[in-house]
């Protein structure tokens, strides 16, 4: 062994930094962040370059991930209930004092900045449910699952009525995955799926806003409204399709640089990537995302604690949901909902939430031992 002070210091530093990080996960995310920043650069370099701003977001995200990873799951458990309640209070505030932007009331003005409490719920809701199931794991009954659904439904509905379908779907999905992994019976699961399918007409009529209905309709036939809501789908589909096998090359996407792609650096960043890197690039990206999700699920599988397992698996599937819905939206097989592509879409808050989730996963991974109530 090398006992030189410098080597010792280096080893200590290494330990300090990486002790609570999962190296495979860390590398995968670094790769995604790199691809993401290249795409953001391509999408914005010729006009209002966002690369450096995104680098700042990334750096901040990595820092938050590192800090969260240092927190043992036992402590995270203790955060669950207050965080959830705090989130609910904020949502209530949005309901009452929120700022309306483009027909949606999603933001709170806290003087120095605007915050979007629904983002917090992406973490708080699954954390709360995981805590709940963990707490009652000894005697889980149908009643507990019902309560869990109610705990999830409250923030879900509050966010959906803002309206913010994308975030509501993510919060709902994250919470639902916790419930699923907590042991929701298959019968109940399929029963619920049947119920949801049956209630679709009611949701269509009463729950969805006009523009949401329009988005769904344009999905079926984008050409029906080529200048308005169909425009996004048509143009992003053209971008992806014209990319071909190898793509047009980095910084050479015409759809991107001639501004045919809407929201190109945020929700539609995948269209930019896809146009410039083609099917080859898409395949690589799918594999990287699969590695991310797979690693998360592996962590879930290897975690002994109930809380850790269901939370880790839920986070994994939430990543998956984002990837699938976003790519499906960009390629025109799913309706346009505001769900970002993890670690690639520009945007501080969304990125922060993803890194937070990663931090939780790493904490779960790197803090051995069982949890007790």
């Amino acid at each position: 062994m090398n006992h030189s002070p410098i080597a010792l210091l280096a080893a200590r530093c290494w330990r300090f930094v990486f002790q609570r990080l999962d190296l495979p996960l860390f590398l995968i995310v670094c790769l995604l962040a790199g691809i993401g920043m290249m795409s953001v650069y391509s999408a914005t370099y010729d006009h209002n370059n966002r690369l450096f701003s995104q680098m700042g977001n990334m750096a901040f995200g990595f820092a938050v991930m590192w800090i969260v990873a240092q927190i043992p799951p036992q402590k995270l458990l203790r955060f669950a209930v207050p965080l959830y309640l705090f989130g609910l209070i904020l949502l209530l505030c949005v309901w009452i004092f929120g700022i309306k932007v483009k027909g949606a009331t999603r933001w709170l003005d806290i003087g120095i900045a605007r915050v979007q409490p629904s983002e917090l719920m992406k973490i708080a809701a699954p954390l709360m449910l995981a805590w709940f199931f963990h707490h009652f794991q000894e005697r889980l009954s149908a009643r507990h699952f019902l309560i869990a659904f109610i705990l999830l439904a409250i923030p879900f509905l509050m966010i959906a009525r803002q309206p913010d379908l994308g975030t509501a779907i993510l919060v709902g999905a994250a919470g639902f995955y916790v419930i699923f992994f907590a042991g929701l019976s298959w019968r109940a699961l399929f029963g619920m799926i049947a119920l949801v399918a049956a209630s679709m007409p009611l949701v269509w009529t009463y729950l969805l806003k006009d523009f949401q209905r329009r988005r769904l309709l344009t999905l079926l036939d984008p050409t029906s409204d080529p200048l308005n809501s169909g425009f996004h789908i048509i143009q992003s589909t053209i971008a992806v399709g014209s990319g071909g096998m190898h793509g047009k090359g980095w910084l050479a996407g015409t759809q991107t640089h001639l501004e045919f792609i809407p929201e190109k650096h945020t929700d539609f960043i995948f269209a930019v990537f896809s146009e410039e890197w083609g099917l080859v690039g898409n395949s690589v990206l799918l594999i990287v995302y699969f590695l991310l999700i797979g690693r998360c699920l592996m962590i879930a599988a290897e975690t002994p604690s109930f809380f850790g397992r269901i939370l880790a698996a839920s986070i994994a599937l939430t990543f998956f949901t984002c990837v699938f819905v976003n790519m499906g939206m960009v390629t025109g097989i799913l309706p346009v909902v505001g769900i970002p592509l993890p670690f690639m879409s520009y945007g501080g808050t969304a990125l922060l939430v993803f890194f937070c989730a990663l931090g939780i996963l790493m904490s779960i991974r790197t803090h051995p031992g069982r949890l007790h109530n």
Binding site: A142, F145, G241, L258, R309, G328
Partner: protein, 678 residues
């Protein structure tokens, strides 16, 4: 500790994770999850494959269509110069202020804002609204033209807050000599629906449609119209990369336009100027032809107008003024208006008599001052008659009785058959639009002209006034000039034309409009000589003697007077009617008589008799053309000229009538107006 609720349907049994005993059930769910994730990614991959491989060509094309637009580049219009290279029509570059309605947002607000910066008149606004109505897609529309430099600067500074507002350099047509020769040149105006139809009609192959994609102006009249396709040139195009908002990002390729061809005319603008000046404020027409080529040396129709008014879209008040002017300035009298030729018809009648053998030059009649036919007396204007009149004297003194008799002897068919090859009553084929064919009276013509059977019959009495150029006779000044030139050229007729050659702007190659002999009439030189001698005598001792006193060259000519009977639809005030009831003065001439260099026909509306107002104009033109002498001021009227060729009253015969085109008929300058009427 562990409780197992077998009856619990909602929760499965793997609740306890204190041990790994329930781990496999959780792992099962994870495996299901992995399978689902893989399946979902498979769906995504299938979608990528569909879009990027199977449908790649389609989406590539879509992306290219998105990105590339073809913008036509309008070629610069060819210039027009006279035979000496004096420019009659050219282009100049000026800045225009244009608005792209697609990008401008609220157009009215934009215009209001612009109006605070530079002058925008109500006229500009109205014209813009009109353009908006006619506009094709993705076209920027002109709001102001000919911006001054400081206006360009003001707009440029403020452009950032005026989306859709553009300053463009555009070429404008300019006619530097103003109204001079306007009836030959025509003018260009903004392209309208009717012009598109005209292009399609002229171009059945459809080759020009693409060529006119960016074109906004088109020849509306005269040479500008007749040679539209040659003058227009070939449009080029730019392949531009555009962004989503239609903004050009960069140019991918450019095919430059080919400038329109240059027209070099047979017209002599200096001669034209002299001729127009000679008319002063009199109405009328003059056509001067080079008899050996058919080239038009001067083509006058008075009054004139300024073609520059039309270039940028004519103001409605100016348009109304032109259209409502009772003198009909827009009307090309030289080719569109037909008049009875009066006594200028007599030399042709005499030639017909010689060629058909109805008369010899020496054969004389005794003129009692009238010709009696069917109980009616056709009077000569000289009371008591000219005495013994042979052919020579009949032309020199313009004896009517001689020609009453001659017409009667020849009969209408023989007259018509002789006159037709001389071009009377037929389009000459001049390179101008809307030529009137006039009326060569014949029984067939009458049959076609009238609908009622009793009107369709030709009466022998009607033939008699034909002999002195009255009756149904009705010819354009161009036809009269052409017939004169044909005689001057010993019976060889050339197609009259204004363009001498067309110069290709790229190669510089000239396409000559070669003199095209239409036909060579088999006229006996001796017969032509008889006519020529008589016509020379006209200007020595006859009706033209006063106007041509002291002329150093020999000039053959014939005066004429055409009666004006009816003034249907005219809007003249009472004291002007009198003037407008005056006869039209006519004059045909060619000179030098022995080797004609120029043949011409002049008509002065309501000018009285030919010697009085038409002959002095001819003198001025000939002096300029043959001697290079340019008199200043207009041609003088000769109040002392002897009225020897005015037609006499023609009894109850159908009176020849020039009807001034009624206003409603003449409202469009491009519509041929029928002037003959019963």
């Amino acid at each position: 500790m562990r409780t197992y609720h077998a009856s619990d349907s909602l929760s499965s049994s793997f609740r306890d994770f204190h041990g790994d005993d329930k781990g496999p059930r959780f792992r099962f769910r994870l495996i299901v999850t992995v399978v689902l994730v893989l399946a979902a990614f498979g769906v995504l991959f299938a979608r990528f494959f569909w879009l990027q491989i199977l449908r790649h060509d389609y989406y590539s094309t879509r992306a290219e269509d998105n990105r590339i637009t073809l913008v036509p580049i309008v070629p610069s219009r060819g210039t027009i110069a006279d035979r000496n290279g004096i420019v009659l029509a050219r282009n100049y570059s000026a800045f225009t202020l244009e608005i792209d309605p697609e990008r401008a947002g609220n157009i009215d607000e934009t215009i209001d804002e612009l109006a605070e910066l530079i002058e925008i008149t109500d006229q500009d606004r109205r014209r813009f609204k009109k353009l908006q109505g006619e506009a094709k897609n993705f076209e920027s529309l002109q709001l102001r033209s000919r911006l001054r430099d400081e206006e360009v600067a003001i707009i440029a500074v403020n452009r950032y807050r005026l989306p859709g507002v553009e300053i463009r350099a555009r070429l404008f047509r300019e006619y530097p000599l103003g109204s001079l020769a306007v009836h030959a040149l025509g003018y260009i105006g903004r392209e309208r629906e009717a012009d598109r139809a005209w292009i399609e009609e002229r171009d059945p192959g459809g080759e020009q449609i693409g060529n006119y994609r960016g074109t906004r102006h088109i020849g509306q009249n005269g040479l500008e119209r007749h040679y539209e396709f040659q003058l227009h040139g070939k449009a080029g195009h730019e392949e531009l990369e555009v962004d989503r908002f239609g903004r050009a990002v960069r140019r991918l390729s450019i095919v430059p336009p080919v400038q329109g061809a240059t027209l070099t005319l047979t017209l002599d603008v200096r001669l034209q100027e002299v001729a127009e000046r000679a008319f002063a404020d009199r109405r009328g027409a003059l056509v001067a032809i080079d008899p050996s080529t058919g080239g038009i040396l001067a083509l006058v129709s008075m009054p004139t107008y300024d073609p520059n008014l039309f270039v940028d879209g004519i103001r409605s008040e100016e348009w109304d003024a032109l259209n409502n002017d009772p003198d009909l300035p827009m009307y090309n009298r030289a080719i569109q208006s037909a008049y009875p030729p009066g006594s200028t018809f007599k030399p042709f009648m005499a030639l017909a008599a010689l060629e058909t053998g109805k008369r010899t030059p020496q054969q004389a009649i005794s003129d009692p001052g009238y010709f009696e036919f069917g109980g009616n007396r056709f009077r000569d204007d000289k009371a008591g008659g000219h005495g013994s009149v042979d052919m020579h004297k009949s032309i020199v003194q313009s004896c009517d009785t001689y020609y009453y008799q001659l017409a009667n002897d020849m009969g209408i068919d023989a007259i018509a058959n002789f006159m037709r090859p001389l071009g009377f009553g037929q389009k000459t084929g001049i390179d101008l639009e809307n030529e009137n064919e006039g009326v060569l009276p014949s029984p067939e013509w009458k049959k076609k002209r009238f609908r009622k059977p009793e009107q369709q019959k030709w009466f022998a009495g009607e033939t008699i006034s034909i002999g002195i150029g009255q009756g149904y006779n009705s010819y354009t000044p161009l036809q009269l000039a052409l017939a004169t030139a044909t005689i001057a050229n010993n019976g060889v007729m050339f197609r009259p034309h204004l363009v001498r050659y067309i110069t290709d702007s790229r190669t510089g190659a000239r396409t000559m409009i070669e003199p095209q002999p239409v036909r060579a009439l088999p006229l006996k030189p001796g017969n032509i000589e008889v006519i020529r001698r008589a016509m020379v005598e006209v200007n020595k001792t006859g009706t033209g003697a006063r106007a041509f006193a002291g002329v150093p060259y020999t000039v053959a000519g014939k005066t004429g007077t055409a009666q004006v009977y009816s003034l249907r639809g005219s809007a003249y005030s009472a004291n002007r009617v009198k003037e407008h009831l005056r006869d039209h003065a006519l004059y045909i001439a060619f000179a030098p008589a022995e080797d004609p260099k120029i043949a011409l026909a002049v008509l002065v509306e309501n000018g009285g008799f030919g010697a009085q107002s038409a002959a002095p104009i001819v003198r001025m033109v000939l002096d300029h053309y043959l001697l290079g002498q340019t008199a200043s001021g207009p041609a003088p009227e000769d109040p002392g000229a002897v009225d020897s060729d005015a037609p006499a009253e023609t009894g109850e015969e159908n009176a020849p009538a020039l009807e001034l085109p009624a206003e409603d008929e003449a409202s469009s300058p491009v519509e041929p107006v029928e002037t003959a009427s019963p």
